[in-house]
């Protein structure tokens, strides 16, 4: 049985003046412990798909199941980190990372200790009583990740977690996140615009095309890259070839001049 199964999902947003089809007939599967990326041009429905997998709303058609159960019924099994950190500015860092546990009424001393330990592992010792705006963008992103991991989700989804960061911070965080997730054996979905990030972090890359959002092609990343840290993968000899392949495929989706 598949861990995560997205089956013939179709989604249309309705407004008074328009009906926008964001996703059309998307089917895919993710195995337990796998790290996959969703890559595609802006507006191809990546965020929509994540929201549907997170069970925030139901697709117009199709189903999503996690371990055979429909995601709408799953509780706290899917962690979803939004496109920006969205830390609550009126809560300090500790209150922010414990939010998920508080909401789920499962704030036990062990789980609290676990969350604080995660924070420490992310290199953020001693910021517990500070407020989000006192932290840098990279630190906030890590806090948001801790907040998402603290509830112990089975599936983790990251929506462009590094896109607002400078290049150096981004490379460091890629390594840190990849390392953390590997050590937990977590299943993860990463949304990104960055081909290099998709290649260096994941086991498989799903390429989407826009208008309407469809699954265009799936790339399997070779084993030698998967075993490397993201930073080393970017310097690996097979990396440029894969980059070229995906790049060409992406180019074919976006007619020249329309970027």
């Amino acid at each position: 049985m598949d861990f995560l199964k997205v089956d013939a999902v179709h989604h249309t947003y309705f407004t008074k003046t328009s009906a926008v089809t964001a996703l059309s007939d998307v089917s895919l599967e993710v195995e337990e412990g796998e790290f996959v990326s969703f890559l595609g041009p802006s507006g191809c429905g990546k965020t929509t798909l994540l929201s549907i997998i997170a069970g925030l709303f139901e697709p117009t058609e199709g189903t999503v199941t996690l371990e055979g159960k429909r995601v709408e019924t799953a509780e706290n099994e899917i962690g979803y980190m939004l496109q920006q950190d969205y830390l609550f500015p009126w809560k300090n860092i500790e209150e922010n990372i414990l939010l998920g546990l508080k909401i789920g009424n499962s704030l036990t001393p062990d789980k609290k200790a676990y969350a604080l330990k995660l924070l420490q592992e992310m290199g953020l010792k001693g910021v517990e009583s500070q407020f989000p705006k006192q932290l840098s963008g990279g630190m906030r992103q890590r806090v948001a990740l801790v907040r998402t991991l603290a509830t112990g989700p089975k599936l983790l989804m990251l929506d462009e977690p590094f896109s607002a960061l400078d290049y150096q911070t981004k490379l460091k965080l890629e390594d840190l996140v990849s390392d953390t997730l590997k050590s937990f054996g977590k299943t993860a979905i990463l949304v990104t615009h960055d081909i290099g990030e998709a290649i260096s972090m994941s086991d498989r890359v799903f390429l989407f095309s826009a208008r309407p959002g469809q699954l265009h092609k799936t790339f399997v990343i070779p084993k030698e890259l998967r075993d490397e840290t993201p930073f080393n993968a970017r310097n690996h000899e097979v990396y440029p070839a894969i980059f070229q392949t995906i790049w060409k495929e992406l180019e074919s989706l976006e007619p020249a001049g329309e970027r």
């Binding site: 925030l56 706290n76 962690g79 969205y86 809560k91 300090n92 989000p132 705006k133 006192q134």
Partner: protein
Amino acid sequence: MSPQENVKFLHRKYIQSLNREKKWVRFYQAVIFIVFFSGWELASQKQWIDPLIFSAPSKVWGLFLTKIQDGTLMVDLGYTLSETVFGFILGTFLGTLLAAILWWSPMLSKIADPYLVVLNSMPKVALGPILIVALGPSFTSIVAMGAIISIIITTIVVYTSFKEVDPNYIKVLQTFGANRFQIFREAILPASFPTIISTLKVNVGLSWVGVIVGEFLVSSKGLGYMIIYGFQVFNFTLVMLSLLVIAVFATVMYQLVELLERKLIKNGS
């Protein structure tokens, strides 16, 4: 001079200039205060203005001392102050509660919309006579005046701010499986605290209006009654005294709200 010393020197100069400016501001504020009251006193004594209508600071002060000694000022002040405080708290609380109910039920808020607009554009003090007839010429009806004047505007302003909370905070909570009540407690309410505080500031002023008008109408006690009574018996010293006391206490209430604001809004700044 080395560059560092130079920076230090310039910084010291900058601070000095700030202090100097502050002193001047205070000085002119004091000048206005003194000129106003001594001008008033002088004009009244020289009969440039009619002392019967405009009274004089010395007379107001004299009356103030007498009324402190016989305790009548404290009684009236106590009435008005408690009516205002109750009206203010009630108005703000009920307004916020109504806003929460509207947020809870989008359907209800759509239905209520035109009624809110009508109620908001209506001059609330015009309801005074009806309130007094309905609730009796008492403490209750005056508190109701102080409250009713601020309820609707509080509802509208606070509800708007509830609706404008970034939906992504709600999304974060939903990914954790939050219910509607948890969403309200963790995101909607705290995100709207700044707005609620600023309506508090407006409501301080509004409640005074409601209460004073209420006392005009009921005409039995309080600072508003002092004004009406003074007007009827042509004792304008009494009117002026009442006005000055109101000015002082309205300011004190406003300052207290500002203090509350600094206590409530914490985000590391």
